[in-house]
Structure formats: C-alpha cells, structure tokens
C-alpha cells in the first residue's frame, strides 16, 4: 500500500468537496436524518444541503426505542429543529427496527459504505470496530459494499473487548488510546478471548504491570484479530477505519503497525454509519 500519510477529512465531518457525491445541490433546506442504533452507542446525524448541521452520540442503554428518540431529539435540538422538520429519516444499526419514526431501515454496511465514500472516496477497504462486532468490508468506486466479513459472536476483536478492560483497569473508555501511547514496555497477552484476557489483565496488574503497558498489549491482541479478518477479505488501498473503536488512537496505531499501512481516519469515526444513513435519506428526497 503506497499511501503512508494519515489523512483526516477536511472541514470537520462534512468533508466538503467539489464533487457532487451527494444530493444537496439539487434541493434547498430540506432536512434529513440518519439514526444508527448500535449495541453500545446510538448516533444521529442531521443534514441539509449535503452538509452535516448537527449530530449526537449517546449510550444505547437497554431501551433502543428510547435511545432512538433521545439521540434524534438531541441532534435536532442542536440544530434547533424537531422531528416534524425532517423530510426523510433512515435508520440503521443493531436496533434499527426500534426507530419508530424512520422512513426506512438500511443495513449498516451499506450506510458505512455510503458514509465513508462521502468522506474518503478513495477508500476501498473499511474496518468498522463496533461495540459488539468488528466488520471488514470492501467498497467499490461508488461506496457500495461488495464483500464483507464479520467477527465471531464472541467479544474478541470488538469494542466490547476494550469496554471490559476499561472496567478492569478502572479508567474511562476514552482515555485508553492516549494512555496506551505512553507504554514503554508492552505486555504480551496469550489470548484473544476477551474473557481470558480479562483474567490475564488482572494477573498482570497483580504482577505490577503498568496500565499503559497492559493496554498496549491488548491493542496488539485486538489488532492481530482484526488483521486476520483484513487478510481474509484481502486488503485493497485505501483502507479506512470507522466505528467507536476507531476513537482509540492506540488501537488505530496498532492496526496500522500490523497491516503495515496508514489508515484513513474520520474526525468522528463513530457517526459514519449515521452519516451514510442521512446521505441515503437525502438521496430519497432528491428522487
């Protein structure tokens, strides 16, 4: 993979572009939304004229229907809008069926593909590190998913792995990345299983290992799992990483090390599926 420079999309999340890859140029001030109800986090993106005007992320909790209403409500409030202002809403994610106010549900890989195409048109391989599963998929020159792999049902290789370890180490999830980057003596783990890794982490704490070294080791383990999935599907540059797990810079660095290439990383990787859902909603109203 020739590309070695990590690229962040320009101008925040909107990824402004001179190309017309969206729908906004055809219509004026029509508001649409994408709602992604993931197993761990819910995300909402509100757009108008092919631009993100607001978004919100919050834990899904145990009531997906309520989460959908709340996350949409928060995103709309930021834009000083309400549900009745939306011309079209697309739902996606594990709890998409619970978004009672959506016009349509679309699979998350289609939304991720659409969202990543908007942000990084050159991306052909996408790693989505979600709360419950990690997916690796390939997209074509139009952002359509043409092949995909999903991690096994167990927590190995998913964001859940990091949540478990954050709890064991008594640190905030969002601090994992920066803390792990301070590691000077990475601890190597013998397992990719989240349950066994939890036990192993506790053992290493008892042995006096530093938190940052444990985290660096776990990133290495998680990255190895993701690497096998990428190799199975066959990497094609450019490769992007999205999902909540991509907010962990230590994990992203570990994956880059394992794959031997730089990854395209959105400013806000957690909302790419919701963004794609909103873009699909926009296409609906423009047609």
């Amino acid at each position: 993979m020739g590309r070695k420079t990590k690229v962040k999309n320009r101008e925040g999340l909107g990824g402004k572009t001179t190309e017309n890859r969206g729908w906004g140029s055809k219509i004026a001030m029509v508001y649409i939304a994408g709602i992604d109800i993931g197993s761990a986090f819910s995300k909402a993106v509100v757009m108008a004229k092919n631009e993100i005007i607001s978004y919100h992320v919050m834990p899904s909790g145990g009531d997906y229907k309520l989460a959908a209403e709340q996350v949409a409500g928060e995103a709309l409030a930021k834009a000083k809008l309400s549900l009745k202002d939306l011309a079209y809403t697309v739902a996606t994610g594990y709890g998409a069926a619970n978004v009672s106010f959506s016009n349509q549900a679309v699979t998350d890989i289609s939304c991720q593909g659409r969202g990543i195409f908007y942000l990084f048109p050159s991306a052909r391989t996408v790693i989505d590190i979600g709360g419950q599963f990690t997916k690796v998929f390939k997209v074509d020159e139009r952002g359509r998913a043409i092949a995909f792999l999903q991690s096994e049902k167990c927590a190995a290789g998913s964001g859940r792995f990091l949540q478990i370890i954050a709890r064991v180490l008594q640190i905030d999830l969002e601090d994992i990345g920066d803390l792990s980057m301070k590691s000077q003596n990475r601890v190597d783990f013998n397992t990719g299983c989240a349950v066994f890794a939890e036990s192993e982490a506790i053992s290493r704490i008892a042995e006096g290992a530093a938190k940052e070294d444990i985290l660096a080791g776990l990133h290495r383990t998680l990255a190895a799992k993701i690497q096998t999935m990428v190799e199975r599907i066959g990497i094609e540059p450019d490769c992007a990483v999205v999902g909540g797990g991509a907010k962990d810079i230590g994990l992203v660095k570990s994956i880059e090390e394992r794959l031997g290439c730089s990854l395209l990383l959105p400013e806000e990787p957690q909302i790419v599926a919701a963004l794609g859902a909103a873009l699909i909603a926009g296409e609906k109203v423009s047609h």
């Binding site: 594990y94 699979t107 998350d108 890989i109 289609s110 599963f133 997916k135 998929f137 074509d140 359509r144 998913a145 043409i146 092949a147 995909f148 999903q150 096994e152 049902k153 199975r232």
Partner: protein, 449 residues
Amino acid sequence: MTEEKKPEERKKRRTATEAASRIGPMVKATIGGTVQAREEGKPIAYSFICCCYDEIIRAMDIVPVWTENYAGVCGAKRDAQRFLERAEAENFSRSLCTYALCGLGFDAWREELGEMPPESPWGGQARPDMMLGSGQMLCDPRNKWYQASQRYMPDVPVYDVGLPWPPYEDDYDYREVQDYYVKYIVEELKGLVQFLEKHTGRKMDWDRLSELVDLADRTWNLIWETYELRKAVPTPMGTGDAMNTMVPMVFMMGTQEAYDFYKELNDELKHKIANKEGEIPDEKYRLIWGGGLPAWFALTDFNYFNNKGAVFPVETTYRMVEAIYHFDIDLSKITDPLEHVAWRWVKFWTYWYDKAKKRPGSHPDVERLIQYIEDYKIDGIVMHEAFSCRSWHVGLIWQLNQLKKVYRDIPSLILESDIVDISSYNEADTRARIDAFIDTLEAVKSRGR
C-alpha cells in the same frame, strides 16, 4: 437431573414442494415405528447415515435407529438443551459433536429411568440391540459415540465398520490404489454381516441383498436426475426443502418407499418447471449452500433468504449421490453385492478427483463448487460453520480462498452456530449478516449490469 419444561415449538418452515412438506410426518412415523419395533421384539440397530450398510440391514430386516437424525429432531424442535446438559453432567465436553452429546445425554437419561425421558420428542429414541459405528475419515464420533454409549448400555455390542477412500493428491492417480480400498471395505462389510448374523440369529439373504443394492443404484440415479431439475430458472426447489428431502436419501436408502418418494418429487418438480413456478415468485439471487450441516433449529432462515429474493437451487450438503452411470466403471457388472457397494462408495468419494487434477491449485471439493456455480447459475455462496462438527466444517474458509484463486471471486457468507446447540445461535445477528450479504450481492450484480 435436568427436568426443564419442554420449550414451545417454533413456527414451521414454509416449504416450496409438497414432497418436502410430507417429510416431517414421515420422520415422526419412522421414529415412532422404531419404538413400536422395540416393543414387538424386532432387532434394532443404532446406525449412522452414509455408512454403506443401508441395504445390508434392510436385507436382514434390522430396524435402524438413526441417532444423528434423532439429535437433529431434538434440535429442530428446540428441545435438545436438556440432553446436552445431561451429557455435560456426565463429564462429556460441550465442545464435542452435539449430535453425539444429545444422543449420549438421551441414552444416559433413558437408561437411568428405564423408560423414555419425560416428553421425549416424537416418542423418544428406542433402545438398541446393537450399535453400528464407522471409522470414516475425520468424523471421530462415528467410532467413539457408540463406544461411549456402552457406558450406559454395556450389554449392547458395537461393530465399527472401516470405510476409507483414497485420499486426493494431485501427483498420483487414485486408481493405482483403489483396488486395495475396495478389498478392505469388502472385508469390513463381511465382518459386519457376520456380526449381524451372530447377534440376530438370522442368515443373510444374499439374493435379497442384491435386489436392494440394485434398487439403491436406481434410487441414486433418480435422485441425481431429480436434483438436476433444480437448475431451472426460476428454481422449483431450494436447499431449505432439500434439508427435508434428504431424508429418504440418507435414512431410507434401499427401500421402495425412498425410490417412490423421489419419483413423486421428480414429477412435482417437472410440473412446477412446466408452469414456471419457482420456489419464490420473484427470484433475484441464486445461491449455493456450499458446505456445512444446517442449524436444525433455524431452518426458517431459509425462508428469510427467500423473503429477500434469494433461492438456493443447489447445495453440497446431503447431496450424497452421483449418477451411477457417470462412474468410470460399470457397476452393473459387479455382481457381488458387497463388492458392488464398496465400489460405489469409492467412486462416489473420488468422483471429482480427475476434474480437480486438471485445474492447478484446485481440489475435489472446490471443483464441485465450481461445477455447481456454473451449472446452476450461482451468484453467491453461503456456508455454515457449526462449531461442534469438525469433519464437515474443517476447510470451508480454505475452500473459499482456493475458489477465489483458481476460479473467481464470488460473494460469500459464512454463518456461525451449530447443528443442535441453540445457545450458539443469535437470530438477530444471523439475519443482520444475511441482510448485509444481500446488499453485497445486489452491489456486485449491479456492477455487472
């Protein structure tokens, strides 16, 4: 002891063919028949499918109890967990074959009670007079399961029949060694006949055996011809139905009933094709079930595929026959019935060897996939990794990789769960994967438009 309340049965899978809809009652009657046979004092044998001895036990009027089938029924009725838990309590590992675990748990419970466990699915699994195992490549439960069952039934004898076939290598011709394999299998089958004669007090009727072997040959040909009809567009029958219509193939081979079933299925499929009546009204994607036993508790997933416009005109699982007249030897000239069965066995398992040798990097299993993809106009492959079954599931990912290397990249989906253990299954996740797979199929198809 586990005595959980029997779970509610799920909604039945929707079948496309009338023939497939008859299978459930047929299996129920067969299982009930074994319990009745036990009461009538008829000899009963625990048996495995695809073990070359169908005609032998039929010729001696021995009633087979297909233990894999009973475990599958427990799984399909979502009533296997209590038997799996019982086996686990008996110190069997949960990572073993769950057919075997279910059967061992059932046997342990039945032998302890001296009667069927409470509310046993379809009346329960009859106690055998003998158990017929099999040494057969990777499937170790075939020779260990019944030995383990002897812990609960030490009075019931076991016979293991060895059934090898020449391994595939691309730098030799298996014909150089096939005679040795046939001789070995014939000796194994002779030993089986002696074992059965000893334990039943009956003598083999060799003329009757020859008649049944001939009937089985004709049934093989008829099945092959019937399944070939599914090449039609739209396909008149999918893999969901085939997971039913395999019953006469693997549990009733060597019976007139099996032959008649496929004759009726053949007629039904021809009628549907003549009327352009597909499995679903609007067939969009044609898929192959490219490997793995099904999750018996989740057969409605096939309906879910159907609802998305996807059909399965072909599968490699349970397609346990080839046309006899395609073999490179004339089986009709082999009059000794045991030798005839042995040759049929070896020729079945080596059927794709020559084709594979012609394509560097290929393999018989891969070659079979390629042939079906071409013949049945396939858009994508679905496989199922059942965690507890190594013999059928090892190498699936490798096959996909080789297919990509020697043939072409074709959309694929690997489902994950088990054959019997429902705790391995997540319906929401499975269906989300199917949805995503359908999206990729659509994207790939639209690229070609």
